[in-house]
């Protein structure tokens, strides 16, 4: 047994989307950080569709970015197609989405990690968590090396006892071609964490050259490109500054994938046919899902194609998106076509898709089952309740999606770093960020299917817009020491401009109306105003329009937030003993004891805890001198 001589503040196990954000956040906050991964070449690998963003997920990425995370910038630099979704609807559901070059994404992220000050990357398989008296102090690898540190963040994704299914063929592994982490689960179980089993799937990858796109609807990217990052200046000026010598393609970030290929790649829309349905029905007995071989619970929002055909039998066809996996590969991702049918069935099955009559599969679709930790065993800081200084983030907590993983990763990184410095954890509220909604849902309600973010999960959608993520989180990101000063200054400048322009509009009259009143009319846009301030950026103009045009709705939602905050600001002491409340139903007491809600508001969201229980709890806290939660 060898103990690595350097002692770390934060040890991150796993180099996926949660792990990289956690490691980068901790390192950027000044902690000596170690990132352990089974394979350095798969840092930031996109196991499923190489796409970032979309409705609600795009919001998460914007928030990660506003806090000082890497996902947005990495997407902007490696995306091959960018779109803003939902623009025909209101501002709260606009969402950026990008199709990325899979390899470019992971290699850039690897490079960022390698160059990050305070961060060491090391390739090793972690097999065991080291704990002492309910406190984590390090990990051990399969090569019998021990790394010691103050805090440990585990982000193992689908690798915990991963089991892949293609038909009835089963193979251990976290991702096609990669080994599973088989022993770490046991280690987690040993310290007292309860594990469950989830399932997810991925569709086949097809060879572009075997597809007839002529019958399909083409989906081009948006121009100008709707980038993810709030700090676009960086894209164009900071990174790869030497690349700007090539003046011809200034409109794309120097060194980016778009810059290399000088334009965006399209995606294609096609559909299944009657033959698809018939073929699936004829082969249903070969599906491990239908034969009951897969025990894990799959997501309802991302069903396999056999699920769709069976559950919605009268639908004649289902749409399939064909999306490129990269600029230097012919691999095409068949979005909407995930299946666990055997390979020999898949070969014929993909050929029933319109335009895929001669399609060749490069990689078969498969389903993967994996262990996850019931997330109600975590505090909202993402620290486990049973083991101090141990944090979990990402798919291990029952979520699905890179963005959900990244959002947890950055928070776990921030909170592990704060623990090192003996600071209080940062907990985002439901009215503050989608990340707050995500973590609160996980630790309060738990999940029994892979949890994906939807805007309908957020009560205060109108306030949690992708366009104001910086307004909601930049200050916090800066305060915790993650968001760089120059970004913070940019943010301050931008909102100052917005504030003073709003002020001008409210006080400048045109005839009997103020400019603000004119702009509030639905048909008027900023440019139509009789007097405009020249040189305002698009995002500033848009912010001004949203603030004025949706003021009524936003105010109404703010009122709802006020009501919500009343209970949310009532703290429950961490060591509160629910046994002290006589007369509380045992079932409620057990739930409360297990979840240990931080506030009365959170207590009320636990399933099975009734309004009467909350009322009772409130009475008790009040009697014993209730404290207000400090605002951080």
């Amino acid at each position: 047994m060898f103990v690595y001589p350097k002692r770390y503040d934060v040890i991150v196990v796993g180099g996926g989307h949660a792990g990289t954000e956690a490691a980068l956040a901790a390192a950027r906050m000044g902690c000596q950080t170690l990132l352990l991964t089974m394979n350095l070449d798969t840092i930031g690998q996109m196991s499923c569709n190489p796409a970032i963003g979309g409705i609600a997920k795009g919001h998460l990425v914007r928030e990660i970015d506003a806090l000082g995370g890497e996902m947005a910038r990495n997407t902007d630099m490696t995306g091959l197609q960018f779109r803003m979704l939902n623009t025909k609807k209101g501002p709260s559901v606009w969402a950026p989405r990008a199709q990325c070059d899979k390899k470019a994404y992971q290699f850039r992220l690897k490079y960022v990690c390698e160059r990050q000050q305070n961060l060491d990357c090391y390739q090793a398989q972690t097999i065991k968590l080291l704990t002492d008296d309910g406190m984590a102090f390090g990990v051990e690898t399969s090569m019998e090396i021990q790394f010691h540190g103050t805090t440990v963040v585990i982000t193992t994704g689908t690798f915990l006892r991963g089991l892949m299914h293609v038909g009835f063929q089963r193979q251990e592994g976290g991702r096609a071609g990669e080994a599973a982490a088989t022993t770490l689960s046991g280690s987690l179980h040993e310290i007292g964490l309860e594990l469950g089993r989830l399932k997810t799937g991925t569709p086949p990858r097809l060879n572009r050259r075997s597809i007839d796109f002529s019958q399909m609807e083409i989906q081009p990217g948006d121009e100008p490109v709707p980038y993810f990052t709030n700090w676009q200046d960086d894209l164009f000026h900071m990174e790869h500054s030497d690349a700007s010598a090539d003046g011809a393609h200034h409109r794309y970030p120097p060194g980016s994938v778009l810059h290399q290929i000088r334009g965006q790649l399209p995606c294609y829309l096609t559909a299944t046919t009657q033959r698809t349905a018939e073929f699936i029905r004829a082969n249903l007995d070969k599906s491990p899902l239908y034969a009951g071989k897969i025990k894990g619970i799959g997501p309802r929002y991302c069903p396999s194609i056999e699920d769709k055909i069976v559950r919605f039998a009268d639908k004649p066809s289902h749409q399939i998106f064909l999306e490129p996996e990269g600029v230097a590969t012919e691999e095409i991702y068949a979005n909407g076509f995930s299946t666990s049918l055997p390979f020999e069935v898949q070969i014929e099955l993909v050929r029933t898709i319109c335009g895929c009559e001669r399609a060749e599969i490069l990689r078969p679709a498969y389903a993967v089952e994996y262990d996850y930790v019931f997330p109600t065993q975590l505090y909202p800081s993402l620290e486990t309740k049973v083991c101090r200084n141990l944090y979990l983030a990402g798919q291990i907590n029952g979520t699905s999606g890179y963005e959900e993983a990244g959002g947890q990763g950055i928070m776990a990184g921030i909170n592990a770093a704060r623990r090192v410095r003996s600071q209080n954890p940062i907990i985002l509220r439901r009215d503050q960020a989608y990340i707050g909604v995500l973590i609160d849902d996980l630790v309060t309600k738990g999940t029994t299917e892979p949890y994906r973010m939807f805007t309908s999960r957020a009560e205060y959608r109108l306030i949690l817009r992708q366009d104001n993520a910086d307004q909601r989180l930049a200050e916090l990101g800066h305060d915790v020491g993650l968001l760089p000063e120059r970004h913070y200054q940019q943010y301050l400048r931008k909102w100052q401009i917005i504030a003073s322009e709003l002020e001008r509009l409210e006080h400048t009259r045109f005839g009997s109306l103020t400019l603000a009143q004119i702009l509030r009319r639905p048909e008027v846009v900023y440019r139509d105003l009789p007097s405009v301030t020249p040189g305002l950026s698009e995002e500033v103009v848009r912010q001004i329009e949203i603030t004025l045009k949706y003021a009524g709705y936003i105010d109404r939602q703010e009122e709802e937030v006020e009501k919500f905050r009343k209970l949310e600001d009532k703290a429950i002491p961490e060591d509160f003993d629910y046994v002290r409340i006589p007369g509380m139903k045992t079932e409620s007491r057990l739930k409360l004891q297990q979840i240990r809600p931080r506030t009365l508001g959170q207590a009320g969201r636990i399933s099975g805890v009734s309004p009467a229980d909350v009322s009772l709890l409130m009475v008790w806290l009040r009697r014993n001198g209730m404290q207000e939660v400090d605002s951080e």
Binding site: L85, G90, F454, T455, L462, R556, Q557, G583, S610, A612
Partner: protein, 456 residues
């Protein structure tokens, strides 16, 4: 510790000799004095009354006397809640207590939450830890009861309707959310027109429910029935018979009733506010003139007129004058003194709906009550209605839901974007959810996944 003054009916609802409306809070006496008029020389306003004394007087609301009451004044801290407490004892039964509560709420008190008095008692240190278990029980049983009341006790039609309303709103919201969260899926959520039609249906549904609430209003407020007729046909005797006790002074001297008398009678389960009018004839003196003026006023507000005729005498000019005057009014002819030989002759069309009674013997009174009920209330009176309607929280929630639904519908019409429409729809779902104890986000995703084939 608490800034507001709370009030609630503290005795079990139902028929009883007495009912108590309790007020607690720092403004308890000020609020009480806004609707309490001390009567008699030993009574005084609550604010100046010594602690632990009883004051006699009347509760007034909107210029009308509601009930004669006794008010116990108890100053903090020697009270149940350790706050200033006024306990108003009024006549028993649902109606007087409800009317007094309405008066108190209109004077600035807030309706107490279930168990709130006990909660305050506990929080203000009135109840010690040993009694805490009891507090828990009370909070539990009351809150749970409130829920149970919504869910089970009213398992009748009404509760089902509220559930159906919530399901329908939820369904609409799910369609809106599907548009927002899954724009790229080839699912086909309802079009704006279809969503609007759904909301119209929900609105109609709410109106129906709120109309029941309006019926409930009648149940609470009472129906005003004026008793008219020429002097000495037995108007006051009829009033007494309907009330079942002597309230008006009856005497054979015409014009004895100098003032308008209002009393609430329980007739076939309906609260009927009976208004006995002073003889509507030319005034002999100033006092009578005032009486007549008030009678006219009372008549103007009446929803039904009981015209009393003396069956033992022929139709007089004064009778005919009344018949003409109320020809166009909803009225019921009462032929009193049916115990005597009949000398009254009426045209057939008038005689048809008339009811013969004898206030002396009580004969025909039951038939009169039936006829009265028939005229006032066409439908059946169910206890369920009363139970629901007394819960003003439900009504309030439904009204808020209606406003929000309307806003959402208007927004749909004006082509406002769906994420904004959803803001109000959620408010509506949550408001209706308050009645059945559920929030909007709870089953929203289930509803979405249940309806659409998702999975890009």
């Amino acid at each position: 510790m608490f800034n507001d003054t709370i009030a609630a009916i503290s005795t079990p609802l139902g028929e009883g000799g007495l009912a108590v409306v309790r007020l607690s809070g720092r403004e308890a006496f000020a609020v009480g004095d806004r609707c309490f008029r001390p009567a008699g020389k030993s009574s005084q306003p609550l604010a100046s009354a010594p602690t632990h004394t009883i004051q006699f007087g009347r509760i007034v609301h909107g210029g009308r006397m509601v009930d004669e009451v006794l008010v116990a004044v108890m100053r903090a801290p020697r009270t149940f809640t350790r706050e200033d407490v006024a306990e108003i004892s009024c006549h028993g039964g649902l109606l007087p207590a409800k009317l007094v509560l309405d008066a108190v709420l209109a004077s600035g008190a807030r309706l107490a939450e279930p168990g709130e008095f006990t909660k305050r008692a506990f929080l203000n240190g009135r109840i010690d830890l040993a009694q805490a278990e009891a507090v828990a029980d009370i909070i539990h049983s009351q809150t749970e009861l409130a829920l149970a009341a919504a869910n089970e006790q009213l398992a009748g039609k009404l509760s089902q309707r509220i559930h159906r309303l919530r399901d329908e709103l939820m369904h609409t919201l799910a369609h809106v959310e599907a548009h927002l969260d899954f724009p790229e899926e080839d699912i086909a959520p309802d079009t704006r027109e279809a969503l609007e039609a759904r909301l119209e249906r929900s609105l109609a549904f709410m109106d129906e429910l709120l109309a029941t609430a309006a019926e409930g209003q009648i149940l609470r407020r009472g129906v005003r029935v004026a008793i008219v007729g020429r002097p000495n046909v037995g108007k006051s005797s009829l009033l007494n018979q309907l009330l079942g006790r002597d309230r008006a002074i009856t005497s054979p001297i015409p014009g004895t009733t100098r003032d308008t008398i209002e009393e609430t009678a329980n007739i076939r389960g309906l609260p009927v506010v009976l208004v006995d009018t002073a003889g509507l004839r030319e005034a002999g003196d100033a006092i009578e003139a005032e009486g007549i003026r008030r009678s006219r006023e009372a008549l103007a507000r009446a929803e039904l007129v009981l015209h009393v005729l003396d069956a033992s005498e022929p139709l007089m000019a004064a009778d005919e004058a009344f018949l003409r005057e109320f020809a166009a009014t909803r009225r019921l002819l009462v032929l009193n003194k049916a115990d005597r030989p009949r000398r009254l002759a009426l045209p057939a069309e008038l005689a048809a709906g008339a009811v013969a009674v004898s206030c002396l013997s009580g004969a025909g009174l039951e038939a009169l009550k039936d006829a009265l009920k028939e005229r006032i209330w066409s439908g059946e009176i169910r206890a369920e209605m009363l139970q629901v309607m007394i819960n003003s929280r439900h009504q309030d929630a439904l009204r808020r839901a209606r406003v929000a639904t309307e806003t959402a519908r208007d927004a749909l019409r004006q082509n406002v974007s769906l994420d904004l429409v959803a803001v109000d729809l959620r408010i509506a779902v949550n408001a209706v959810g308050e009645v059945v104890g559920r929030t909007a986000t709870e089953n929203l995703l289930d509803s979405i996944f249940g309806q659409f084939c998702l999975g890009k």
